[in-house]
Symmetry: C2
Subunit: 151 residues, 2 copies
Amino acid sequence: MTKAALPGLSLCNNATLRRAGRKLGRFYDDVLAPSGLKGTQYGLLYQIHIGSEPAMGAIAEALIMDLSALGHTLKPLIRDGYVETFADKDDRRVKRVRLMPQGRAKLDEAMKLWSVAQQRFEAMVGKDEAAKLRAALDAVAALDFDMPPAR
Amino acid sequence: MTKAALPGLSLCNNATLRRAGRKLGRFYDDVLAPSGLKGTQYGLLYQIHIGSEPAMGAIAEALIMDLSALGHTLKPLIRDGYVETFADKDDRRVKRVRLMPQGRAKLDEAMKLWSVAQQRFEAMVGKDEAAKLRAALDAVAALDFDMPPAR
DNA sequence: TTTGATTAGTGGCATATGCCACCTTTGCGG
DNA sequence: CCGCAAAGGTGGCATATGCCACTAATCAAA
């Protein structure tokens, strides 16, 4: 009896989610590798693609990520000429992002690879199961963790 | 009808998982904040705690993380005196990790906060749902993504 | 035993994410 | 019109993760 008695960290919702994330992330990254994009970058490009020259704040909100984190993540994509940012015409505080032709092409290229990863994954867990999992994860992402602290 | 026509990135298993991870991660991090530990550090300390002075490789495998990534992540914990590493007696290639008294105390302290986060989360999604989600995530973590590329 | 393959980690480099302090622009009142 | 609070980003700093090249210690085959 090793020590299975102790509650493994599979009991922690957060740890379990992170662990699965590392695993799945590496899989998608591997499949996307030929395009030179990471899974996160692919997702970011896609999000920009489906938006209408979205503002950084809008992207951050959609991806549920910190605005500054988005700024950092965007840098390599700008550096590589995939996207470009520009000030909003009406509100100069707002900075919008748009895909450049090269980014568009790269997205198309990566999309094919993404399909492979997506299909391979769903073939393993089952399309229904995958959909259920995504639904559950979306539900988590939509939760309102308002801290009681305060005001 | 905004542009819901385009397949949102909620269709990508990887993006969905990452997004939920960011959200949940911040929640656990916020609750654990008073202890000074991040959710990842808590999980790592816990993993070391339930092991018998585990080797780095064993920890990395359990957490499904890159060995070098584990090394990096371990540094702040060593610096703060929570854990210590030492060479295995029989195989000097192996480096084992053990909790220091201070780490033990910190873990106990953080565990209380963790319970709060865990309970608050499960109160929102339901204990059963949470268990199902963890099971699904563990299943993903256990998948064997063997590339066909190969050899 | 000598050598070559394997195993376990390290260090450097790059991206992913967050928080916080700060700077600009706006929006509002007064 | 002035001054101030709110909104939207930026930069710096710290942790989280990976990959790759390299080193040290073992192991196995000749």
